[in-house]
């Protein structure tokens, strides 16, 4: 029997996960090895110097640069608030004084009595890296970041948009083949990760954006809606940077496709739990797929990563059809003929025989199914 490998996406109730959380520039790691962290905890941060803004003080005071020192109320290194008086002229007999106020929050970098210029610096910009998943710090990379491990229910999506977000899981459909009704997305969905069924359309995505939804998990999405949402057509699947205010994880594909039973049931069983998701997808060698991570309780000695398993096709294996006809339908393998077989398109391929969940008996090219782990 052929060891035909059919790439399938991982959907599991429990797995050990390991995530690197690294700063873009060197900075400070705020946690130590063994610390338990929550998804929203900042684990490392760095402060970037703010922008320098030149400010012609002599000009504002209407004096020559060498006189600036006589009127100034602040010195280099001082913190300033917007509107705070930085210098005042003496005026005439105490009248007609000119006060110069700070144009921004920040600090004084430098005051020159040669040019009469001040250099003001905007506040430092904190760059933070959050834990993204609830878990334990298992490694600290000094000045750079940490590695976090946990035990989670874990679902791989097929395609996604936008970066990391977390939120509570909220089911908005009762069956995996339902199309989400826009009206169901209301204020109660704010900051939640909403579970839709077989399709979410453009209007519903817009509604989710307006209601402050954190993430959408859907079986299918329409390519034209995607184009409308992004304003461009995706040529090569490299996503994750979209600035759309929420994260979308598609579990099945493009068009209306019923969410896989296992995926739907798993999400349903964790309704109300907190999940971390991202839509980062890179479909090329070294593939990256979107992830849905739902942390579960664990003891530290349970954190042992399992070796990757190779799914195989055998009689009785549960499969999902991943191409037309019968796209998205689940079935069981009933036969694995070894000889090449001609299908409707006249292509000669290795096929399998299967009985689908709707009772239909079909033959399908082996390349057009994926194995579902049970």
């Amino acid at each position: 029997m052929a060891q035909a490998y059919s790439p399938g996406l991982t959907v599991t109730k429990s797995t050990v996960l390991r995530k690197d959380r690294i700063l873009p520039l060197k900075g400070k790691v705020l946690v130590k090895k063994g610390d338990k962290v929550k998804a929203d905890d900042v684990v490392a941060e760095t402060l970037l110097p703010g922008k320098v803004v030149p400010f012609n003080l002599a000009n504002k005071l209407n004096v020559t640069p060498n006189l600036v020192n006589q009127y100034i109320k602040v010195k280099a290194g001082d913190k300033i608030k917007k509107g705070q008086v930085m210098a005042v002229t003496k005026g005439f007999f105490g009248l007609f004084k000119t006060a110069v106020k700070a144009p921004l929050d920040g600090e004084i970098e430098n005051i020159s009595t040669i040019t009469g210029q001040m250099l003001l610096r905007e506040p430092r910009i904190p760059i933070q890296v959050k834990a993204f998943i609830d878990g334990v710090v298992v490694e600290v990379i000094p000045e750079e970041g940490v590695v976090i491990e946990n035990k989670s229910a874990y679902i791989q999506g097929i395609f996604g948009l936008s970066g990391e977000r977390s939120g509570e899981i909220k089911l908005l459909v009762s069956t995996p083949d339902e199309i989400i009704d826009t009206k169901k997305i209301d204020e109660s969905c704010k900051d939640k990760i909403i579970i839709c069924g077989a399709l979410i359309n453009y209007a519903a995505i817009k509604q989710a954006q307006n209601m402050g939804v954190s993430g959408i998990i859907t079986g299918g999405i329409d390519d034209q809606d995607l184009k409308k949402l992004l304003g461009y057509n995706i040529g090569v699947a490299i996503t994750g940077h979209e600035d759309i205010g929420l994260t979308i994880v598609v579990t099945e594909g493009f068009g209306k496709i019923k969410m896989a039973h296992n995926t739907f049931e798993l999400l349903k069983s964790f309704e109300g739990h907190k999940a971390s998701i991202h839509g980062i997808t890179q479909i090329r060698a070294g593939v990256m797929r979107p992830e849905i991570i739902i942390p579960i309780d664990f003891k530290e000695n349970e954190l042992k990563a399992e070796a990757p398993k190779m799914s195989s096709l055998e009689i009785g294996t549960t499969i999902r059809v991943i191409r037309q006809p019968n796209f998205g339908i689940i079935g069981k393998v009933t036969g694995l003929p070894e000889k090449l077989t001609k299908v409707e398109s006249e292509t000669l391929v290795r096929i399998l025989e299967a009985e689908l969940e709707n009772g239909k008996k079909v033959t399908i090219p082996r390349a057009n199914v994926e194995v579902i782990e049970t």
Partner: protein, 620 residues
């Protein structure tokens, strides 16, 4: 070469971005023949993320099919999770060789000082080399430095092209950009077996500082400034460097590549030695050059894969060889990019039935996210072949420009052109003088009917005058290209007997006339004594059966104002080669070849041509 030793059995694989193909070559009755072939999806996705798993699967299929063929259950090619190389006669194989393009398409980041000036020049150089530009980072692009660094890390580019500054100008900005790249410390997406290539094509005065900043962390290559002065672009050197680096370093790499490198072994001068894995386009290029050399002809070849489409040509009396890799035109990973490049209308113009646009768009995207699937339904096959025609067309356009670019030199850009795009130079690719057009790659080699390959190749390459067509029988040119490294005899024998399949010839007058006028008066004496004689009006296709190794004596007279290669209105008498499909007389016009925009006119025409080509079952 190790031709002196006896090799009884050799396994060769080609790890493509989508599929890993395996072939078994055996020494049977005094000659080498390709006897069994297998394939399996390439495994570059988690959790396996190891190209050798796909190799094992493809060779397992080979093993099973060999057992079936010889009714011998003891045949075994795999032992201890690796390919069993043994010098004993009745076990394992004598050698294992492989090619790889599993790394897939080329995705780059470019940097420049001013986004609209050097930045755009750099982008054009990258696009010209067939890359996708993931992002353009410029000194003036308003993002904070940390955002730029994060972006470089997140996107995991295959390569970075750095430009900026005219020669002798300020070095400050370009050095700042180099510092950003250095701070990002970019790692190649395919693991640590090589450093990320960074090409510097900016201000020459900054070269030393750039070396100091980047030489340790990256695989730094310095080339000529792509914008030496403001008014002149010099994209050629940077573009060529990108192309070479991609082929040599990025494309073949894939997760598990190091492990695979330790597997490929064969006897050289009596000792078992490692046989380096060859990038697929290098291997196919070797084969194409060999075909041109042996027959002393002009050859144009194409290998259309899942992520990339490679075009090869040998033209002019000096037999100048050119090879281009269109890194993001392909039938699976890059299929959506074919759509983005060509536009939906251009794909739909080849489709002979009405289809809901959103259904087609979703189908294309689904293929992109599940690249290893194959069309089971006839409708989907027709759609994929329509997309293939556009992918081939654009890869060929790129090749023509590239082949010209190599001969040409610098392109002067006036200040007024600085904000616009344009192409340059005359191509050495001449379809009229071309002798043989060869197709390879899944969609051409595995088309259910060879007639479909003929149609796809003619519709996309639009051969002119008289051209012979051939196809790689089961997509094994890459493997033969690397096999030649250990046994030229085996490679040559298999190539001649099992690899190249002649499809036939295409006769196409160049020019355009009114549809009612006669475009070609043809008289063909066929080998079986039959005579084909017809005055064919403009806008038609005829397919005349004429078998492989057969020739038809032809007298051809082009319509008024049309040219078959000897000049306008000049008649030709010649032998036309047959093939498994036959001789195609194509009077649909060249330069231009026009498909009507109106679907009510176009669809009946497509159906008529498809019926004549005998491509699909329903329109027979």
């Amino acid at each position: 070469m190790g031709d002196t030793q006896k090799l009884k059995r050799i396994i060769a694989t080609d790890c493509g971005s989508t599929t890993t193909k395996s072939i078994l070559i055996e020494y049977v009755d005094g000659e080498y023949r390709q006897t069994v072939r297998g394939e399996a999806p390439t495994t570059v996705e988690k959790p396996l993320n190891d190209v050798t798993k796909g190799v094992i699967n493809a060779v397992t299929e080979l093993e099973e099919l060999a057992r079936l063929k010889y009714n011998d259950k003891s045949i075994k090619f795999i032992k201890d999770d690796t390919i069993w190389i043994s010098d004993k006669e009745d076990e394992g194989v004598d050698a294992y060789v492989s090619t790889s393009s599993a790394g897939g398409g080329l995705q780059m980041m470019v940097t420049g000082v001013v986004a609209r000036m050097t930045g755009e020049s750099a982008e054009r150089a990258a696009l010209g080399a067939g890359a996708i530009v993931m992002d353009l980072i410029a000194s003036n692009d308003k993002r904070a430095n940390y955002e730029k660094i994060e972006r470089i890390r997140q996107l995991r580019p295959d390569m970075i092209l750095m430009a900026g500054g005219v020669d002798g100008g300020t070095t400050k900005h370009v050095v700042e950009l180099a510092e950003l790249v250095s701070a990002a410390d970019p790692k190649p997406r395919l693991g640590s077996s090589y450093k990320l290539p960074v090409i510097y094509a900016g201000n020459t005065s900054a070269q030393d500082i750039i070396k100091e900043t980047l030489a340790d962390k990256t695989d730094l290559i310095i080339t000529e400034n792509l914008r030496p002065v403001l008014e002149r672009e010099n994209l050629g050197p940077a573009r060529d460097k990108i192309h070479d680096l991609f082929m040599e370093h990025v494309m073949a790499q894939a997760p598990g590549y190091n492990k695979l490198m330790s597997w490929t072994k064969g006897p050289v001068n009596g000792k078992l030695k490692n046989i380096p894995i060859m990038p697929t386009p290098a291997a196919v290029g070797n084969i194409m050059q060999t075909i041109a050399k042996i027959n002393n002809i002009e050859v144009l070849g194409v290998d259309i894969g899942g992520a990339t489409t490679d075009v090869f040509s040998v033209f002019t009396e000096d037999r100048v060889f050119n090879r281009t890799v269109s890194a993001n035109l392909g039938m699976s990973y890059s299929i959506s990019n074919v759509l983005a490049t060509s536009g939906l209308e251009n794909i739909l113009r080849w489709v002979p039935f009405e289809i809901d646009e959103s259904e087609l768009l979703n189908m294309i995207k689904n293929k992109m996210i599940r690249p290893t699937t194959i069309p089971q339904q006839l409708k989907e096959l027709i759609l994929e072949q329509a997309i293939a025609k556009e992918a081939l067309k654009y890869a060929f356009i790129q090749h023509k420009e590239f082949a010209a670019g190599l001969k040409g030199g610098q392109k002067k850009r006036e200040i007024a052109d600085a904000f616009s795009q344009s192409t340059s130079g005359a191509s050495i690719v001449d379809m009229m003088s071309l002798d043989l057009l060869v197709g390879s790659g899944g969609v051409l080699s595995h088309a259910p009917r060879r007639n479909q390959s003929v149609m796809m190749m003619i519709d996309s390459f639009l051969p002119e005058g008289i051209t012979q067509l051939a196809v790689d029988s089961i997509f094994m040119m890459p493997q033969l290209g690397v096999l030649a490294e250990i046994s030229e005899k085996a490679a040559t024998e298999v190539f001649e007997k099992d690899c190249l399949i002649y499809l036939g010839s295409c006769v196409a007058p160049v020019g355009s006339i009114k549809p009612s006028k006669i475009a070609l008066s043809a008289r063909l004496e066929l080998p079986n004594g039959e005579i084909f004689e017809e005055d064919i009006p403009f806008g038609e296709v005829r397919l005349i059966p004429c078998g492989i190794d057969e020739k038809a004596k032809a007298h051809l007279k082009p319509g008024k104002g049309l040219d078959l290669g000897e000049g306008k209105n000049q008649e030709i008498s010649c032998d036309l080669h047959g093939g498994v499909v036959g001789i195609v007389l194509d009077t649909r016009g060249r330069q231009p070849f026009v498909l009507p925009n109106e679907s009510s006119v176009r669809v009946p025409l497509l159906k008529k041509w498809m019926k004549e080509f005998k491509v699909y079952p329903e329109v027979n």
